[in-house]
Assembly symmetry: none
Amino acid sequence: MTDTVSSLLAEIADIGRDPARGGYTRPVHSDAEHILREWFVGHATARGLDVERDRNGIIWAWAGGVGPDAVVTGSHLDSVPGGGAYDGPLGIASALVAFDQLVARGVGGRPRAIAVFPEEEGSRFGVACLGSRLLTGALDPDRARSLVDSEGTTLAEVASRNGLDPRHLGPDPETLGRIGTFLELHVEQGRGLVDLGEPVAVGSSILGHGRWRFSISGEGNHAGTTLMGDRRDPMVAAAQTIVLVKTVARSIPDARATVGRLVPVPGGTNVIASRVDLWLDLRHPEDALTRYLVDEIASRAAAVAAEEGCTVEVTEESYSPTVDFDARLQDQLCAVLPQAPRLSTGAGHDAGVLKQHVPTGMLFVRNPTGVSHAPSEQVEDADAEAGALALAACLEMLATA
Amino acid sequence: MTDTVSSLLAEIADIGRDPARGGYTRPVHSDAEHILREWFVGHATARGLDVERDRNGIIWAWAGGVGPDAVVTGSHLDSVPGGGAYDGPLGIASALVAFDQLVARGVGGRPRAIAVFPEEEGSRFGVACLGSRLLTGALDPDRARSLVDSEGTTLAEVASRNGLDPRHLGPDPETLGRIGTFLELHVEQGRGLVDLGEPVAVGSSILGHGRWRFSISGEGNHAGTTLMGDRRDPMVAAAQTIVLVKTVARSIPDARATVGRLVPVPGGTNVIASRVDLWLDLRHPEDALTRYLVDEIASRAAAVAAEEGCTVEVTEESYSPTVDFDARLQDQLCAVLPQAPRLSTGAGHDAGVLKQHVPTGMLFVRNPTGVSHAPSEQVEDADAEAGALALAACLEMLATA
C-alpha cells in the first residue's frame, strides 16, 4: 500500500460538498456519509482488517484479533453543515496510513483497531458524540431512540432503515471492554500549533463547556410611533449583553464566549421586539472560572437590561465539566513525540466520552487557518503525513509497551 | 343592520391568534387573513355593496356605482407577527358601520367604496403598503413578482395560487382614477390623543421612513476552539451597531430608529457566525435628517465592524419621504370634527401612498396604551363607536360637498 493521508482524503474530496454554505455537509446516515463509510470499509477490507459494525452503528476494523486490551484509534466521518474537509476524516485517513506503517515495520503486540463513531457532531439529532455516548451508557437509550432530526424522523426509525435494531441501541460493555487504550487524531480547531511552530500536539484536556439561554424581556411596540425615550427595547439590552460577553471573556485568559444564535420576538422589521432570546456558549479549562464567567455575565446583563427597562432570565441548557486526558498516557505520548507541545481543546470529542472508561488520549494536527466547522478549515499535506507518522509511532509504543 | 365596531371586531377576535407571541399573526394570504377577507366580503355583500377584487388583490366594495370621483375609505386586514387587534381591522369595521349610518340617514351623492389593501404591513414580503404601491405604480411590478417570503416562495407564486394573474400585477390607472377622495381611519399608534383627552384626531402627516438591511460579514468558526483574540465575529459588530443606532437616534429630536429583526448565519449555538443580517427601521419628519441619520449610522457601523475585522454592506430596501396630507381636506375634516386635534404619525399607511395621487386624509382613534404592533394595543369601545361616527360624518360631508 502506498496511500498517503492526502491521497486518501483526495478520494473523498467531492463527496457531500455543500454548494450553498461551501465546504461539506455530511450528516450521519446521509448519502454522503454512507459513501464515506463504504470508502472506509473498502480500504479496511483491502488491508485484511476484520470489519464489523456494533449494535450502536460504530464501525470497528480489527488487526491481530478482536481485543481484549486493544489499542484503538479512530474518529468520525459525519460533519456539521458547511463544515471543513478534515474534522473527522483526517483521523480516519491517518489511522489507515498509520496501520500501513505498523504492518510495514512488522509491529505485532496487542490487537489494534480503527473505530468510526457515528453522529460525533450531533448535527442531525442534536446530541454530540451520540455513538460513544450510547456505547458507554452516557446517553439513555430510550431518550436516544426518541431523538428526532429536522424532518421529524426518530433515531429509532433511522437506525432501522440502516440495518440496526433500535431495541439494541445502548450500553455495550463487551465491546467497550475490548478497548485497552483509545487515541484519537484530530485537526486542531485553533491556532495553538501555528503559534508554536509545530505540526503535532498531544492533547491535555477538553475545556469544560456549557450553553445558557438568556431571555431578555421588554415592551413590544411600533417602531415608527414610539419615541426613543419611551422604549423598553430588549434588542438594545441584548446588544449590550453581547458586547459585555466579549469584554468579560477577554478579561479571563483562555475563556471562550460566543453568542452565535439570537432570536428576536416577534422579529418584525417595523416592530420593537418584546423579547430577545440569545444563547451563550462558554468554555474554560477551569470549571470554577466557567461558573464565575456565567455569573459575572448574567449579573452585568441584568444591570444593563435594567437600565433599558428590561429583565433577563438565564437558563442553563447544558454543562460539561473539563475532561483531563489520562496523565500517564500523555507522558507516554510525549516521550514518543518529544517536540510535541501539550494543548487543550475547546471542542468536544468522542475521546472525551471514552476517557471516563478507558485510558484515552488525543493528537492534534496543525491547522494554518485555525478555522474549523467552516469551509476554510485547513491542513497542509506535509503536516497530515507528519500526523500519521506520529500516530503510528504512538500506536507502536502502545502495542508493544 | 345594528352592527357596532365592537360587535364586528368581536366576530374576528379568535382569528389568527398567536399563542407563542400573543396577539395576532395574520400575514397576507395566510389562512387567517383569508378568513378575515371572507368575513369582510360577507358583510359587504349583506349590505348590498358590489364587491370586486382588482388585479393587485385589493378588494373594493362599492355603493352607488363604481366611480368616478368616488369617496373611498378603507384600511387593511393583515397584521405584523404578534400584532394587536385594531391596526387595520378597526378601519375596516368602522367603514362598515359608517356606511350603515349613511344608509340610515339616506345620504346619496358621490359613489362611495370601502377598500381592503393587501400586505400593508410588509410582514410577509418585506415591502409595506404592497397593494397601494402596485396600484399607483410606486413599486415596479417585476421587482414585486420576484419578492420572496421566508419560505422562499415568490409573490408571483402566491398571487397565482390565490387566483391573481401575476403578469397583471402593477399600475392600474383605471381603478386609481375612480378615487376622488381617500380617507383612512386607523388606531393611533402613540399617546397623542391620550395626552390631549380626545377620542379622534385628524391626521396631518406621516413621518418619512425607510428600511435598510445591514449585512455584516466576519469569519465563521468553532465557538469552543477559537480564542477571543483570533475572532472576526459579526455578531459582536452587529451588537455594537445596535447600540450606536440608539445613541445616534437619541442625538436628533423626533428621530425613531429600531432594529427589530436580526438573523445570524448559520445561527448555531456553538458556531461563531460568518454573517449577521439586521434591519434598521428609521423615521424622521425631515427627510434630510433621515438621510443624515442613515449615513451617520452606516459610517459608524463600518468603523466598529472594521475594529472587529468585519465588513458592512448597507442596502436600502425602501424609503418613503414625509407625507403631508391634503391641506384643504384637513380643513374640511376639522370643520366637521371641531374638537379633533391634528396629529402626525410615525407609522406608514396606504393613505401615505395614495396621497401622491388623490386628495387623501386620515382619522386616528385614541389608544389608551399608546402601544401598537403588539398585543397590548387597545381601543375603548366608546372611542371605537365615536371613531365610526366621525368617519360617517366626514364621508357624508365629502359625498354631498
